[in-house]
Subunit: 276 residues, 2 copies
């Protein structure tokens, strides 16, 4: 395939559900000329409490689907899938693929002064210890403290972004991290940026919050530039620049997407992901 | 197949995950000679926020798996799957199948004095309005008020059975039901019996709580008796009376199961449910 063609191809982005849209939002901001094909696995959400084996199988099916959409690169916009499946899948495919974990780890390793970094994430991401591995590879004397926060996703999905209950749960989850003296905290699940202000209030101003979505978009831009795949022209008029696919509940997904993006998400298609 | 053989066959029970074990517990209590094959769809849990189409597809796959285990009857121990899939699936199979919704509705219709019945359940069960339909068919002047309680399942799974946060969330969800003057409340999700005391405290003593699991086991016994399928002999020594299958996380499931049952759940097998 010629380079000029490659540039015109879309970027594939996937997540277990709607959370990955916070990553899409960053990609849209930082490389606004790119086309994006998003897949949200709403029929099998959430991934955070499932096994490595199952999350890897699901991620493989999604990668196969995205390849049918002729994507030039893939972003795993889900921390759990990045933690469990990226290493295996990047060996199996012939296009660039990145996750959200490494960019988040790099930023945190740079941001910390005292070398104490906290990670809040799903059970799966914490159990994988992947953030610890990446951070230690960059900064071997760093101390990394992980804390699974299983109620944060349901609280966000229930819309309790600013609420005494969310405050109370955040205080319980985060107290052990406050006590440990971290100066940097990674928001290691794509839902968490939506309760950033609650987490920031509980942790206090002295703690730097790292949102891997932001860093992932920067890393993606760097990678596409290096491979000479970065789109430099706006899509032609009439091109459907952003396409959204889900495995269940297209209407519900569209409703949520429209609360995240300023412009309208016009169409969401449902596919049978088990066929891939 | 001869009747004597039929009696010896196990009962199939399924749920989206672990919640259905509260139904299994009731079946074990009320018909202790029966063999049971349980399937928990832990790879795709929860069902409560998914569409009718997807929940029906998943239920069909599970029924096909249970048939390979040579079950004589099936219990859908999940309110959402009972609400969305039972009516369709009972047309498609040649063995008796019951859900948890109808037994719960029958009991509530009998229990109410003032004709005002509340239902708390997942989004899917409430949206299906199935409890309302069953209750109205029995008692046409009944008033049924449904309320989805999406945070109850994650709170139970986080182990906050007796906790100020669960109290606060229960008060928010239930206040509209208290105001409406119901005298009977159906616990329309298999997780909810585990926070029965919180719900009871918030609703007050005057409100009767209905646990469909209990009534479902009675209905199952009645059905098996009527069809001359009830097991009247204890399983032979060495028989594996209870078998548990899941689609993910066998170890985690076993751990949870052992908090519900007094004796040990010895083995849990993982299968690939997408193959059925």
């Amino acid at each position: 395939m010629e380079e000029t063609n490659l540039k015109n191809l879309p970027i594939g982005v996937f997540d277990s559900g709607v959370g990955g849209l916070t990553v899409v939002r960053e990609i849209m901001r930082q490389i606004p000329k790119e086309r994006i094909v998003y897949f949200g696995d709403t029929a099998r959400v959430p991934y955070g409490s499932k096994s490595k084996e199952t999350v890897t199988k699901y991620s493989r099916q999604i990668v196969r689907f995205l390849k049918t959409q002729n994507v030039k690169a893939i972003v795993i916009a889900c921390n759990t899938a990045s933690a469990y499946a990226l290493e295996q899948i990047e060996k199996e495919i012939d296009i660039p693929i990145i996750g959200v974990v490494k960019p988040g780890a790099v930023t945190a390793a740079r941001a910390t002064d005292n070398g104490k970094i906290g990670v809040i994430a799903t059970e799966g991401t914490i159990n994988s210890e992947i953030y610890t591995q990446y951070i230690k590879a960059l900064k071997s004397d760093a101390k990394v403290m992980g804390k699974a926060c299983p109620l944060f996703v349901p609280l966000v999905e229930e819309g309790l972004l600013e609420d005494p209950v969310t405050d109370e749960i955040a205080q319980r989850y985060l107290s052990v991290l406050i006590d440990s003296g971290i100066d940097t905290l990674i928001l290691g699940c794509t839902h968490y940026p939506l309760i950033r202000s609650t987490v920031g209030r509980v942790m206090g101003e002295a703690v730097t919050l790292v949102n891997p979505a932001y860093e992932t978009a920067i890393e993606l831009k760097r990678l596409l530039t290096e491979k000479n795949m970065l789109q430099d022209e706006k899509p032609a008029l009439g091109t459907n620049q952003y396409q959204f696919f889900v495995s269940d509940g297209a209407e519900k997904f569209q409703h949520f997407a429209n609360t995240i993006f300023k412009y309208g998400v016009l169409a969401v298609k449902q596919i049978n992901i088990e066929e891939y």
